[in-house]
C-alpha cells in the first residue's frame, strides 16, 4: 500500500543512512538520474553494502535502475536483485523493455534461488510509454505505474508548468491503465522542493484525478503527501459505518441495502473494507 515513495540518491551515505526516518511508505534508491555515469559502479556497491548491513523495517525497498537498453542494467540487476529488495523501478519503460526486465528478473531470481518475486514499477515518461501504458500495466509483476512528467515534457517538447496542463492527458491515461489493472497509480514528483503550497495543490489535484500515491524528491514532502493520500477521519468514520451496517443480521445476506437514504452495494462495501485496511496499515485507526 503506497501513498509516498521517497527518492534517495544511492551515492550519498548520509542520505542512505536516514532513508527510513521520514515516514515514506517506500524508498526509491536511485541509480539513474541522481548518480553521474562515473559514480554508477560505486553507487551500486554502496547500495548493495547498505542494504546488506542496514535494517530497513517495514519499508518497501525500490531500486530505480538505469534504462534497460544501456549496458549497465544487467550488471546492476546482477548486483542489486536479492531478497532485500521488493521492487525494481524501470525508467523510460515500454512494453518491450518491461518484458525484458521481467525475464531478467526471473532468471536472476532462479540463479540466486530467491525466496521472493520482485515487483516492477515502470515509469511512464515517453510519448511511446503513454501510448502503450495499458499493455505495460498488464505485464506480470507490474504493481504500479509512475508518471514521469519531467522527461515526458521533454519528449513532448513542451515546457513543464506549475498548472501541469501539458501532462493532463498522460496523467489521466496512466490512472486509467493502473485502475483498469488494479494496480497503483503513482503521481509524478513535484520538483519545487521549497513550495509546500504548490505541493499541496498539485497532490490534491492528482488525488482528485485518481492517483493514489505520489513520488517525493525531498524528505520534507513526505508528511504532506501522506496526509493528502491518506483517508480523512470522516472517510474512515463513514467506512466503519458502512461495514457495521452491512454486518447487521438484516443486511448481511443482501446484495444492497440502504444507509442514510442512499443505496449501499458490493463495490461500496468493498471500497469501505479497502479504506479501513489502509487506515489500519497507516496507523490512522
Amino acid at each position: 500500500m503506497r501513498r509516498s515513495l521517497l527518492f534517495i540518491p544511492s551515492n550519498s551515505p548520509a542520505m542512505l543512512q536516514n532513508a527510513d526516518i521520514f515516514g515514506a511508505d517506500g524508498v526509491i534508491f536511485d541509480l539513474e538520474d541522481a548518480v553521474s555515469i562515473s559514480e554508477k559502479d560505486a553507487a551500486r556497491t554502496l547500495l548493495d553494502t547498505f542494504l546488506t548491513m542496514y535494517p530497513l523495517n517495514k519499508l518497501e525497498i525500490i531500486v530505480r535502475i538505469n534504462q534497460i537498453e544501456t549496458s549497465i542494467t544487467s550488471k546492476e540487476l546482477e548486483k542489486i536483485v536479492s531478497d532485500r529488495i521488493d521492487t525494481i523501478m524501470l525508467p523510460k519503460a515500454t512494453k518491450e523493455s518491461t518484458l525484458i526486465l521481467l525475464n531478467q528478473l526471473r532468471n536472476i531470481e532462479h540463479e540466486k534461488k530467491l525466496t521472493k518475486k520482485i515487483n516492477i514499477i515502470p515509469i511512464i515518461e515517453m510519448a511511446t510509454s503513454v501510448l502503450e501504458v495499458s499493455d505495460i500495466a498488464k505485464v506480470e509483476r507490474v504493481n504500479g505505474l509512475l508518471l514521469g512528467a519531467e522527461d515526458l515534457a521533454s519528449d513532448l517538447e513542451v515546457p513543464r508548468t506549475l498548472e501541469s496542463l501539458e501532462i493532463l492527458m498522460p496523467r489521466a491515461l496512466t490512472i486509467l491503465a493502473a485502475k483498469a489493472h488494479k494496480i497503483d497509480a503513482i503521481d509524478t514528483p513535484f520538483i519545487h522542493k521549497d513550495d509546500d503550497e504548490g505541493l499541496v495543490k498539485d497532490a490534491k489535484f492528482a488525488k482528485q484525478l485518481g492517483m493514489n500515491a505520489k513520488a517525493c524528491i525531498h524528505p520534507n514532502q513526505v508528511e504532506i503527501i501522506n496526509e493528502i493520500f491518506s483517508p480523512s477521519m470522516a472517510e474512515i468514520h463513514q467506512a466503519l459505518r458502512i461495514i457495521e451496517a452491512h454486518e447487521r443480521p438484516e443486511n448481511i445476506h443482501k446484495g444492497a441495502f440502504s444507509l442514510d437514504g442512499k443505496m449501499v452495494d458490493k463495490p461500496i462495501i468493498d471500497r469501505a473494507h479497502k479504506l479501513i485496511e489502509k487506515a489500519k496499515a497507516w496507523h490512522l485507526l
Binding site: 543512512q17 536516514n18 521520514f22 535494517p55 525531498h218 524528505p219 520534507n220 508528511e223
Partner: protein
Amino acid sequence: MILEGFTPYGDKHPNSCLKINHRPSNNTNKQLRSITDAFDKLQIKDGMTLSFHHHLRDGDFVLNMVLDEIKKRNLKHITLAPSSIFPIHEPMVELIKHGNIENIVTNYINGPVAKTVSEGYLKGFLTMDTHGGRPRAIESGELMIDVAFIATPAVNSFGDGNGIQGPSQCGALGYMMSDLMYAKHRVVITDFMTEDLLIKEIDGHYVDYIVQVDKIGDPQGIVSGTTKPTKDPVQLKIAKDTIKVMDALGLIKDGLSFQTGAGGTSIAVAEILRKKMIENNIKGSFASGGITSYLVNMHEEGLFNELYDVQCFDLEAIRSYRDNPKHHPMSASKYANPCHESVLVNDLDVVILGATEIDLNFNVNVTTDSHGYLMGGSGGHSDTAFGSKVSIITSNLVKSRTPIIKESVTALTTPGSTVDIFVTERGIAINPKRKDLIQKLNEVSFPMMTIEDLYHKSIEITGKPTPLIKSDKIIGHIRYRDGSIIDTLYQVRK
C-alpha cells in the same frame, strides 16, 4: 574524582547562597585615556582576577585588548573570568602557554583556547560554570573579581551605558550585571560616548573608570551566525516531532512560557510552534533567554505577551529590545541564579535544549566532544533544565557516524534528573522518572521508545564505539549551578 575542598554534586554546598555587599564606586573622575592607564590606576598585578562578559561574542575586541596589556606587562598567575570564550580570543593561547593566564572561570569555551586548555597547557585550573552559577559565585564571594572590564556599546560621561546605541550594538547586557555590582573595580570600555542614552542598563554609580577606544567589536561577529530555521530534513523532522510531543502533552496552551536557542533546529521549533499557536489562537505568556528575530516576531504577533532577554542574538532582537516596551532585559542572576528570589527559569513551562552526548540515565554533555575536547559548556543548559516544568533535548541520534547516546557521558554537564524528554529522528524517549509525562502520552497513544531502544538502534547503525580512555591529568571541573562539582575534566590523550 572531586578535588579536596570542593563540594561534590548531590551534597549541599555550605556557602552556596551567601551574599557579599555590592560595591558602588566613590570615584568621580572616571575618564581614562587607555586600558594601559586603567592598569596603572588600578595597579593590576600578578595573581589578580579579571572578568568580562560575552555580549560581543565572536566579535569581541575588549578581552583581547586586555590580554595585550597583560602580555606587555608580562603579568603572571592571572585568573580570567569571562562569561564565555570564543574563537576570536585566540591571543589567549600564547598567554596560557607562557603562564600569564593561570586559571580560567567561564560558562562556555570554544575554538583555539578550548583546544589549548583541553591539551593541558593551562597551568592552573579551568572552572566551567553555568549562566546562573556564575552570578551566584560572584554574588556569594566565591568568585572574587578584582577588576571587571565591561565592554559597553554606548556610555555617557558618568558611566551609565547600554547595548543598543553606537556602532557595536549588541542589545541586552544581562551577563555583566553581577560583575558590575560585585567586582572590586569596574572599567567600562566603549567606542561610543553620548549624553543621550536611550536607556541606562549600566548604572554609572558602579563604574570606576571609562575608557574610550576606537572599536570594541566587529558587528559581523557580534550577531549570531545562525538565525534561520534549518532546512536539513533530519533536523526539521526532529523539530516537527518536538512540537508533536509538546502538543500531545497539552503544553501548547494559553499562558505557555517557552525558551529555545539560536541554532537552526531551535529556530525551526520556534517557527513550527508559531504556526501551531496561530492555528489554534493560543497566546503564550513569555519567551526568554537569548532572543532571536523569530521570538521577536512571535511577540509582535501577540503570541508571547512578554520577552525576557539576557542577550540579543540578532539585529532584530536589538531593534525589538529598543522599541518594544514588553521586551525586558534581565540580568543573568534574575535569569538563572538558583539563589535569586524570583529566578525566571523556575517559571518556564518548556525549554528546548541540545546535547553533544546523552547517556542511558539522561545525563547530558554539552561541554566536551566525545574525544574529551572542550567545545562548549552549560551556558543556561543546566539552569533551564532544572527550572522548567518540561525540558526537552533535541539531537540527531547519529552525528558524523558517532552515536549520541553513550553508556556514560564523556563529561557531565546537566544531570539526568533534570532532563525529561529526548527527541531524535528515530524516536522519542521519556525519562522514566517522569511517570506523569509517560502516562499522558500513553493516554493519547503517542509513540515512545525507551532510551535503551534508541541506544541499541544507534549501535545497530554505527557499531559500538571504543570507549574513550581518559588521561590522569585533571585540567578543571564542571561546577553545577549550586556550586557543587558535578564532574572533573581531564586532559585529552594526544
